[in-house]
């Protein structure tokens, strides 16, 4: 027993050294996730999450509906409203990206449609989606004003999530990145193992009385250490630099972390065992990781995926892992939520 423990300790120390003395590991498994996080935070996080958009409202402002609509839009605080542009000028500015949207009011009378014009190149962006939903709410308010059934109306944009508090962009990205980097290091982390096999080290070890199970356990141990380092680093950067405010549920999070690390390390072992060369290993791991990166709701909510793609994301393990990480660190979900 004491001998086994010593062997385990030596094997663990050897693999820790082999891992952390490798510059590639530092770059791909530590620096790279941090870079990705920073890049996506800067692109999507947009300065703390305050949303605002420039909108022009054109057309005849007559009737209760139109007046209510314009007033609500101005009062909303999230839309910067231009009221006095000619329709042609507004469209030109929209094309030039100087406006985020143009809303065309209906003609005279209290019925008709509000038309929302968005820049076609940017229609899938989050701003466009947000304006769409705001305009929808404004239209509803206007309708209520016409029928006279509504109380005084104010608009407050709030992205309400199903959890105990709002899921802000920074939290969404941070939790996604943590899930992704743990998955990535599981998938790609076997480079060392494939190399050891190629160089004959595994064969060499089999010529000694060493217990190969201990070697495997030590290898898993190293993956956990790496996961913890990634987790701590990403969380620190997300919280300190980008104002993420995670709401930890320690038990859920810990369970998710352990199960996720084991599962993705397992996938890595599987990939390593079916690939003869480092090239084929990297090929398989790259495809798997790219598919999962975009279809598992890491950077983009899976709800915005086209319907035909959704079934794909439903079979990807990272979808569920990312969901659980979010459950454990953002929603503060208890274990019973599954």
């Amino acid at each position: 027993m004491a001998k086994s423990l010593k062997q385990l300790r030596m094997l663990f120390a050897a693999q820790i050294k082999e891992t952390f003395r490798e510059r590639q590991v530092w770059f791909w498994q530590i620096l790279f996730p941090v870079l990705l996080l920073v890049i996506f935070m800067v692109i999507f996080g947009g300065g703390g999450g305050d949303f605002s958009a420039k909108v022009a409202i054109v057309g005849e402002r007559s009737g209760v509906a139109a007046e209510t609509f314009v007033a609500s839009a101005e009062a909303s605080g999230v839309l910067e409203v231009e009221k006095d542009l000619a329709p042609g000028e507004a469209k030109q500015r929209l094309k030039d990206n100087r406006l985020d949207a143009v809303i065309v009011l209906p003609g005279s009378g209290d019925t008709g449609e509000f038309r929302l014009l968005l820049n076609a190149e940017r229609q899938s962006g989050s701003t466009a989606q947000a304006i769409g939903s705001i305009a929808g709410q404004l239209t509803a308010a206007a309708n209520q004003a016409v029928t006279g059934s509504a109380p005084a109306f104010t608009l407050k944009t709030e992205y309400v999530s199903s959890g105990s508090r709002e899921l802000e962009v920074a939290d969404f990205l941070l939790s996604g990145m943590i899930a992704l980097s743990i998955a990535q290091s599981g998938l790609f982390g076997m480079v060392g193992l494939v190399e050891m096999r190629r160089k004959g080290i595994l064969k060499r070890l089999r010529m000694t009385p060493v217990n190969m199970r201990l070697f495997g356990i030590a290898n898993m141990g190293v993956k956990f250490v790496l996961s913890v380092v990634q987790l701590a680093l990403l969380a620190a950067i997300g919280i300190l630099a980008f104002g993420a405010k995670p709401d930890f549920a320690p038990a859920t999070f810990l369970l998710t972390f352990v199960v996720g690390t084991l599962a993705f390390t397992g996938l890595g072992y599987l990939t390593a065992s079916v690939s003869k060369t480092l090239e084929s290993y990297m090929g398989i791991a790259n495809i798997a990781s790219f598919v999962m990166m975009f279809l598992s709701g890491i950077f983009i909510d899976i709800n915005v995926l086209p319907d035909w793609l959704k079934p794909v994301s439903k079979v990807l393990p990272l979808t569920y892992f990312a969901e659980s990480v979010r459950g454990g660190m953002v929603y503060g979900s208890g274990l019973e939520c599954g």
């Binding site: 001998k3 094997l11 003395r21 160089k199 080290i201 060499r204 009385p209």
Partner: protein
Amino acid sequence: MQVLEVSQVSKSFGDVRAVQQVSFAVDKGEVFTIIGPNGAGKTTTLEMIEGLQRPDSGAITVLGMTWDRDADRIKMRIGVQPQASALFDLLTVEENLALFASFYDRHRPVAEIMELVNLTDHRGKRVKALSGGQKQRLAIGLGLINDPDIIFLDEPTTGLDPQARRNIWDIVLRLRGIGKTTVLTTHYMEEAEQLSDRVCIIDQGRIVAMDTPKALIGRLTREREIHLRFGADAEAAAAEGAVRTETNAARVERDGPHLRVRSRKPEATLHHLLGFASDGGWSIEQISIRELSLEDVFIAFTGKEWRD
């Protein structure tokens, strides 16, 4: 005392019969060399002895034990340096040795092994920064860490420069000096001749000949090749005519000023030739008698050219 016994061992990979009916036994304290060209079956034979591959038929006994029953006990008592040097590249010399030491119930001090393989000065260096010869010495050191009863060295000098090769030879000779049993493979004839107590020549999976290097060479015909270079073509031509009458000369060839004579009694033939030369006042610029080596043994037993 026999420490290793291989009897009637065969192994095929698909249609390739890598090893066929190989049998030999190695005594304690012996340096036993398996030599043969690339693909002759040396490594396969060694890997079967080391327990990495199962023979299709035949039996192998290591220190009186078999792989089926005593794998772990055999592993405790043998040392292996495989062909691919298989080291942890980012660990230092000392860390590699200490790691391997932890696998065994009983092992020699790491410092002692570093001394034995001349790596004490490089103890803190990572394997990545070592030269080819140093890596190979470390690989041998790892094979020696458990103070094995038998050490297997698979082509320890392949790809090394002459100086690095000498260093490895020194280690093998030192091992022999302390009475270690060593089983070595190589495709350098010179190495086999220098280091081994006994040599086993294998070709295409079969043992061609097995004995001490001296006895193997002794089995060849006593013919030696004499080579002379004369000052002028005419002198060589005259000597060619003269030497044909000499009874010991088996074959005479001339190429310009060069004369090659294969003789059953080289000293007599040479005496004869030198007599003519001084009588005729010819000038001889070079004389040599080529020694027979294991290479000639290989050629004689297989009928094939030896290629390093």
